[in-house]
Amino acid sequence: MPSDSTVDSTVKQWKPYRRADDFGTPEHISEVSVALEIDGQTVTVPEGTSVMRAAIEAGVNVPKLCASDSLEPFGSCRLCVVEIEGRKGFPASCTTEVAEGMRVSTQTPAVAKLRRNVMELYISDHPLDCLTCPTNGDCELQDMAGAVGLRDVRYGYDGANHLAAEKDKSNDYFTFDPSKCIVCSRCVRACDEVQGTHALTIDGRGFASMVAASDDVPFFDSECVSCGACVQACPTATLTENSLIELGQPEHYAITTCAYCGVGCSFRAEMKGEQVVRMVPNKDGHANHGHSCVKGRFAFGYATHPDRISAPMIRDSIHEPWRKVDWDEAVTFAAQKIRNVQQQYGPLSVGGITSSRCTNEETYLVQKLVRAAFGNNNVDTCARVCHSPTGYGLKTTLGESAGTQTFDSVLEADVVMVIGANPTDAHPVFASQMKRRLRAGAELIVADPRAIGLVRSPHIEAKHHLQLRPGTNVALVNAMAHVVVTEGLEDQAFIEARCDIEAYETWREFIAQPEHSPEQSESVTGVPAAEVRAAARLYAEAGNAAIYYGLGVTEHSQGSTMVMGIANLAMATGNLGKLGGGVNPLRGQNNVQGACDMGSFPHELPGYRHISDPAVRGEFESRWGVSLLPEPGYRIPNMLDAAVSGEFKALYVQGEDVAQSDPDTQHVTAALEALECLIVQDIFLNETAKYAHVLLPGSTFLEKNGTFTNAERRISPVRKVMQPVAGLEDWEVTCALSNALGYPMEYAHPREIMAEIAALTPTFRGVSYELLDRRGSVQWPCNTEHPEGTEIMHEETFPIGKGHFAPTPFVATDERTTRKYPLLLTTGRILSQYNVGAQTRRTSNINWHDEDRLEIHPEDAELRGIADGQWVGITSRVGETVMRAVVTDGVLPGVVYTTFHHPESGANVVTTENSDWATNCPEYKVTAVQVVPVSQPSDWQQRHASFSDMQEEALASAERVETTAS
């Protein structure tokens, strides 16, 4: 139950609101320092620094409007002018670099007069409604008017002006009020430089200059991706968050970590009491450096959505209404059910699923509960269905189940190869950083069946788009490795020094066989051999070549082989252990890395140590005071199979929605229906919860303390800024359940859980909340050898000593097109929605994507008489669903594509039980289907709709009972 210490330590993390510091121009790194004098003060800064930055760093505040340290200097507002001894006129301090011995005066009578005159012109065409303006109290223009001492406007206010310009409210999250615009171009530059979308421009010239989105269309209809960088950059109230317009200025903030994708952006949650006024990306955030996407910055409204589950609930059968109970009754009921099941069906008949959306501490506790309190190893996590092949593949080859780099490493890459990932949609903030590097000259290779956004975007074009057929990744990576090996492009020095030579030679002999040549693979992959050869040469000869990959690599029957193929390629070309190179899995959810690290897999204890290792097990046994089974337990698909066959009877699911996200939905729901006890802990009545007997309210990332670990192994703090809706943070719920089961869990705060993790996990030994408070974040391994964490892995050696080349035979999937199912379905996600959509569907992000649709090539559409927007039935050997078609040449002929963000779309009704050979990660990316025009929803959809209605009613009647009783 919530303790006083929880509250105390939270309060300390809250800071009074003030605008983030801004040094005017970006930091310059140089070994050469330059000394100059600013207002009589001697200042030493790195060469290349602007006079403005040198002054601000020295505590001299130069007035500015168009300058911001997240943007390149522009020199348009003329407010930052200074005098420099020996130079003529009044140079802008933002665009003037420091020079040795320079003497700068930032305040002289001439400068003061000039600045006042400049301000006077600005204000002559600016509304004087400061008192009722949304940014009153936090407006740079207002501040500058004060700073320069503007007292009157001699021109009057009656001349031509923009005061009547109309607001653009087309975007639900922010308002564009051009009447307040000073045309400083910060928004345009933020869109170009920070986000890289280039959606904004200054339209017109001189007095007619106006900020315009795309071809001067409303923001919502433009190319704008609603990342909010422009809103953050705006020095006036021209671009303002609607939440701020509604609520007024925040009064305090806390630094926390986004709960969406695996980039793990750091945010300032800017608050008024327990209400979020806005989320502003933290400029000191090590993963995102002050940038964010539409989800992280704007889509937080789900936390206070009326659909939140606000009280624990229980029922004996899923055909009964829910009964609201208190926490004690709920966990006692759940514990009794679990124990009854175990008594009747044996101790191994129950299990648990941890969540990649919950914190490290919460995940750790759930696996501990399963192993220690349930007394078996039937614990798994949703990484099973996304990145489990990364775990297997990287552990086998490199010795550690993690990406090798920091995100910042991409800035040193000469070639970036993106395989089966769609960063601009799924990892947008990292994509912006990558695009910055690509615009600066790095080359790009994309391997993807679809023309993803990166292939061609403003100022970026992939040198090679290897548009392979779904399911042929391994053939492609083998062909690339074949080129490297047979054309003498290997990094022999790296291989000899760093890799196991015997394994290397076996691999080399294998990969050099002619069957792996691009020419012979062409008929399999569909990628022209010359293109593969050119891409392989580019990758191998670049200098620094980095691979980024996603679920298009892992979610295949050969997912693990492909991960090993990628690692082989990186080892063969010496692209490991250095900045700018590496093998980088882009993790789908915020804490996929963390969930895996925390021992969520049935065969591994925290830190990826096998459960059969008696020494490791012994450490946990003595700390936890129980004996542990030495054998792996069931994986999620095994649990579901065993439930269907009647042997597996109870499941505890935290923050995971298998009924929507896992493949072959009808098999999943049959398994859930067969359970005697399903305990779901979640923030909403998700699809899985509709089959539950116990519903334990979850808490959002805003309502709890803990840590998330992002795709670059970065552990970042999650801080509580509001009380959990139902009173308990998720870790407290697990403790309560464990205590009810008779296995005591006593923690006063997640910091104590992290201390236990650190004590038991060598790669986390040095991690503590104190370290996180001091550093902001830390990348594991963090221990005695790496007290401040590890940015780049494998610099000297691999955790297994030598890198291990693994042979990668290409074994085609059994899932093949036939006359009955002639098309290949592949699935993915889009920018505005997140995974099963439970959060983003309950925000205005729904405006961008209110339904899942099926993308189909014009040729395939024409053949079937399918028009754009028409309803089509998609049938595979396991199921059928119906959605609307989008006819596009973004997919290859023979390939169809959809997203899975809406439960009623039933994308996973169609996907099959096929899975990765090593890990059982489902093969979401390849399903043979037929697509035909239809006029009504599928049978499944009709059944789903009526079952969902029944379950919504079961929930609503619990609410009514509550209301009547009180």
Binding site: Q558, E631, N638, D641, A642, P807, P809, W917, A918
Partner: protein, 79 residues
């Protein structure tokens, strides 16, 4: 039975096909058995073993899977 025997055999075949480029059936079977020991719940291994050591399973299994079953059996006997 936990996971159906058809599925177990299919999983084993898939592992066997992917885990090695070694043509030698015995060595392939050994790798397969090791993989099953590391990643399969013992109940799944037991079911697979029972199937492999009785008819019609024994005759139906591919040589690598039969070799894996022998390894698993030998391990069981050893412990």
């Amino acid at each position: 039975m936990s996971v159906s025997i058809d599925k177990l055999v299919r999983m084993a075949e898939q592992i066997s096909a992917n885990i090695s480029i070694d043509e030698d059936t015995q060595r392939r079977g050994e790798k397969l058995a090791l993989h099953m020991q590391k990643f399969w719940d013992p109940r799944m291994r037991q079911n697979f073993l029972e199937y492999a050591r009785s008819e019609p399973g024994a005759s139906a299994l591919s040589p690598a899977l039969a070799a894996a079953a022998e390894h698993l059996h030998a391990e069981n006997a050893g412990t």
